[in-house]
């Protein structure tokens, strides 16, 4: 069972839900938690441990100046503006390159090869008995977030229960995190911003044909609009977490409510069973 936790809007509590959900299942089964919010990963802040680290690379073109005739074919072909062929040399803009390999294919002189270029890293650790945490970190200033996300997910490929914390928004990193999962939990807040962005996120999960449920976080009790929306869209509300100073305080210091406050562990475990039932998958 692979569950992805997402939200159109940032800061709604995705990491909180993912971390608590994972913790609540540990009595029953080993869990792998994958932090795919690679621009600003946070799950490692909840679980202290000594990780093993692996660098993630993309490739960038390398021009053999002895063979290059400065014909310009590579620059003309590149749709990302990553190659500029000047009178006396070829400039490569690493951060623009998508590593499609096209320049290498079109070069008539076979003057282009590829060289690895580091864009971030993946950390793998066992912070608690039964818990595996895989966190992706995009290097500051790099843009190829989906590559890091893919590497992090690949490491968890053979694990049975995988909970993935996605980045906010609705663009390519989110798609990469959602693909090949069985269920999506969308975390929202019951404000007009929250509802607006929830609607966009639902657009994505529908597009992918992904089973979806909603968690309302920081609820002040006025959730009618979100509930009406969910009923209309035929999406179950799986859980409501109230706005509460004690909850906020536990979380702001990096604690888990399922560990420190009574009742939450059971609620999260129940929610998992509900996801299983709706997602229709074993374990």
């Amino acid at each position: 069972m692979k569950i992805v936790v997402a939200s159109g809007k940032g800061g709604t509590g995705k990491s909180t839900v993912a971390a608590n959900l994972a913790y609540s299942l540990l009595d029953r089964h080993p869990v792998t938690l994958v932090d795919c919010d690679v621009e600003v990963p946070n799950l490692h802040l909840f679980f202290d441990s000594e990780p093993e680290t692996r660098d993630v690379f993309t490739t960038i073109p390398k021009v053999d100046t002895d063979l290059c005739t400065l014909c310009g074919d590579c620059g003309n072909f590149c749709r990302y503006g990553a190659i500029a062929v000047l009178k006396d040399r070829v400039l490569i803009f690493e951060k623009m390159c998508h590593a499609c390999g096209g320049c290498m294919i079109v070069c008539p002189e076979k003057a282009i090869s590829e060289t690895p270029y580091p864009i971030g890293l993946v950390e793998d650790s066992n912070p608690l008995s039964g818990l595996r945490l895989i966190s992706g970190f995009l290097k500051e200033g790099e843009v190829l977030a989906p590559r890091i996300i893919r590497s992090a997910k690949e490491m968890a490929e053979d694990d049975e229960i995988v909970i993935i914390d996605s980045s906010p928004g609705i663009a390519c990193p989110v798609i990469e995190a959602m693909e090949d999962t069985d269920f999506c939990i969308l975390v929202t807040e019951s404000t007009p911003f929250g509802l607006h962005d929830l609607d966009l996120a639902v657009g994505v999960t529908k597009n992918l044909g992904l089973n979806t449920g909603v968690v309302i976080n920081r609820s002040d009790g006025s959730d009618e609009e979100v509930r009406d929306y969910c009923a209309e869209a035929d999406i179950p509300v799986l859980m409501t977490i109230p706005f509460d100073k004690e909850i906020a305080s536990v979380q702001n210091k990096g604690g888990l409510i399922s560990e420190r406050m009574p009742g939450w562990k059971e609620q999260f475990a129940c929610m998992y069973d509900e996801c299983l039932r709706i997602g229709g998958v074993g374990i």
Binding site: G10, I170, N252
Partner: protein, 289 residues
């Protein structure tokens, strides 16, 4: 024209609330842009009148004509993005995965592949009470949000001769939309909150912004929810040489204002007072009103 982007490593820290509040109370002639194109919320607080709407085309997408396809497999073998698939012997492109590089089109021996324009969203200009606003909507699941951010900024730049200040509501994160947003700015206002994730995200954000030689100012929102972490953030800012231009208390009026679709500065409350101070501090630091 001075250009300021309101950003935050993490989403939900209150960027839009701060931007909308400042937009209402600055004295300069103002232009606005909402560069959080994936979750564009600014317009909810400043509805205004729509002046223009244009289609946004991201990178092209490749399309396979199954009639012409000879099933040689060259596209499948050479696509680095796993975008080509075979169903019942027929080749097709998974649009969501295609990055529009054109390798398959180049290699196809039978001319079965073409690159088509992909509609990925819309770009709007609106007249709002606070000033002209450039904003956008990205289609769910589309890539290229960084490209769309650039288009939004281009629209806003047209107003440079009529405004003294461009205020941008930025995207969360530190990836391509953020980098597109902060390039060319004079300053960024980083909104953070007192949690250990808030601090971690702020430090990553500052790492990215430093590469752009911007002035970085910090606002700590809901600072009284965890004052020990607020002190840690202030200590971090001191060590990095960043000015904390304001601290906003937790204030239920903020949610109340959002529920009424208006900037919080229309309500007389502690959060409004704090935003006024931020304006005063910024105008001193940046020499704008």
């Amino acid at each position: 024209m001075k250009k300021i982007a309101v950003v935050s490593g993490k989403g939900g820290t209150g960027k839009t609330m701060v931007t909308a509040g400042l937009a209402e109370i600055v004295k300069s002639d103002l232009s606005l842009a909402d560069c959080d194109v994936e979750a564009s919320n600014f317009k909810l607080l400043y509805p205004g009148e729509l002046l223009s709407a244009e289609d946004f085309h991201g990178l092209d997408v490749s399309v396979i004509d199954t009639e012409k396809c000879v099933q040689c497999g060259a596209c499948l073998e050479n696509c680095r993005f796993d975008a080509v698939e075979i169903t019942d012997g027929l080749y097709s492109v998974r649009t969501l995965r295609c990055e529009g590089c054109g390798v398959c089109d180049y290699l196809c021996p039978s001319g079965a592949i073409s690159m088509k324009k992909r509609l990925s969203g819309e770009i709007f200009c609106s007249a709002t009470e606070a000033g002209p606003l450039a904003h956008a909507r990205l289609d769910p699941g589309s890539g290229n949000s960084g490209l769309l951010v650039n288009e939004v900024k281009k629209r806003a730049a047209r107003w440079a001769n009529i405004s003294e200040l461009l205020l941008i509501d930025g995207p969360p994160g530190t990836g391509c939309p953020l980098i597109s947003t902060v390039s060319g700015m004079d300053a960024v206002l980083a909104v953070t909150e007192p949690s250990i994730s808030g601090l971690s995200d702020l430090s990553r954000l500052v790492g990215v912004c430093k590469g752009f030689r911007l002035r970085i100012f910090v606002v700590i929102n809901r600072y009284d929810l965890e004052e020990s972490v607020t002190r840690e953030i202030e200590e971090f800012c001191r060590s990095e040489g960043l000015t904390v231009v304001g601290k906003i208390p937790f204030d239920p009026s903020v949610i109340a204002a959002v529920r009424r679709n208006m900037p919080v500065t229309r309500i007389d409350c502690p959060a409004s007072e704090a935003i006024k101070k931020i304006r005063d501090n910024l105008s001193k630091e940046l020499d704008v009103a």
